[in-house]
Symmetry: C2
Subunit: 232 residues, 2 copies
Amino acid sequence: MTKKIIVMIPARLGSKRIPKKNLRYLGEKPLIQYPIELALHVPEFDSVWVNTESEELGKAIQTMGAQFHKRPPELATDQATNREFTYEFMCKHDCDYVVMINSTSPLLRMETVQKFANYVVENDYDTVLSVVSEKEETFYQGKALNFSLENKVNSQTLEPVQKIVWALTAWRREHFMKLEQAGQCPVFAGELGLFEIPKDESCDLDTEEDWNIAEGRITAAGIRTEARYLKL
Amino acid sequence: MTKKIIVMIPARLGSKRIPKKNLRYLGEKPLIQYPIELALHVPEFDSVWVNTESEELGKAIQTMGAQFHKRPPELATDQATNREFTYEFMCKHDCDYVVMINSTSPLLRMETVQKFANYVVENDYDTVLSVVSEKEETFYQGKALNFSLENKVNSQTLEPVQKIVWALTAWRREHFMKLEQAGQCPVFAGELGLFEIPKDESCDLDTEEDWNIAEGRITAAGIRTEARYLKL
């Protein structure tokens, strides 16, 4: 049985720390265009929606090939949660899974998004979270978590620590809606799949500094200059 | 009583994945020049040594203001450990603390290195490790570590997870040597201080891709272009 998977890209026009972030050019194109282009290239995705309160942004993203889901104004405030606007989106769109792609993950590669889609199709999870896995000596609450203070070992042999990055998330619609209606939190619920994304595809875009770093990384990815060396 | 603190910058000429990494230009200058310049600017540091097996590299770093500690060839192999060459270095240089600065941390800011020096001077730790602290929902061994699956909260309210980054490390010489001589591992030993460095100052330089990212970040830090926006 084929799973119907639709993509939701949340995009408020009024972002706080970086104003109008989604419209801002990062390298060659506006931020919002990155997840749209990625999503449109994956055959497993039935449709690609941008979830925004803004009519103007809604028009712009349609020229990029996405569809416009108009978010009600009361769910576009700073207080409204991801959970709330995702539920409202699900109420309007029938499907098996909603895949959320964050516009703040412009470094995602096509290959990774395709693998994520395959992972959702081939497994039967209620929730799939994207994580970055790191093998580094880690402390938690002042205690060594995945290593021993008695002995230094090669970090490649350490047990990994995985953090959620919210670049890609999938929820089984029926399960999410049932929990939400029962007053339970559906965000991490049910059978959980953890999908690893390469570390260099994750980034933050909360501050001007983050933006600058991402811009540098996107620029650097395009220009591979010849290595130069100090002569001895 | 003043603490005598000396800096050791480990730098093999024969690096594997990125050949002759320390001589390679990252932006405006060779990689090895970054930690040397940082260390020379901190008044609390008594002297700055590059620990390398290479006579040629030893000459080059002296033109940059550092001193040359010649590492014995048997400690310059892939099998030799950080612990071994640090012990050998300590045997030759009297001091209270050795601060190790890795050349693979070119994004460190002067201010951070100065704060680290103050932290070593003002406290009385046997070992000071640099860590990056992150407030992200984290899994360890398949279980939620610092959050509840029952409830999604603002990630700023999560308990942080701290990973060692090896950008800056300090060891009390006497303590380190005593443990090493007793056959115990001195790397994480004794009273441990965890010094937080800003996330954007840590980086990896293990692969060409890492190098590309760091180059992009260094370039981006210098050029702050005006924000451009998609017109609606």
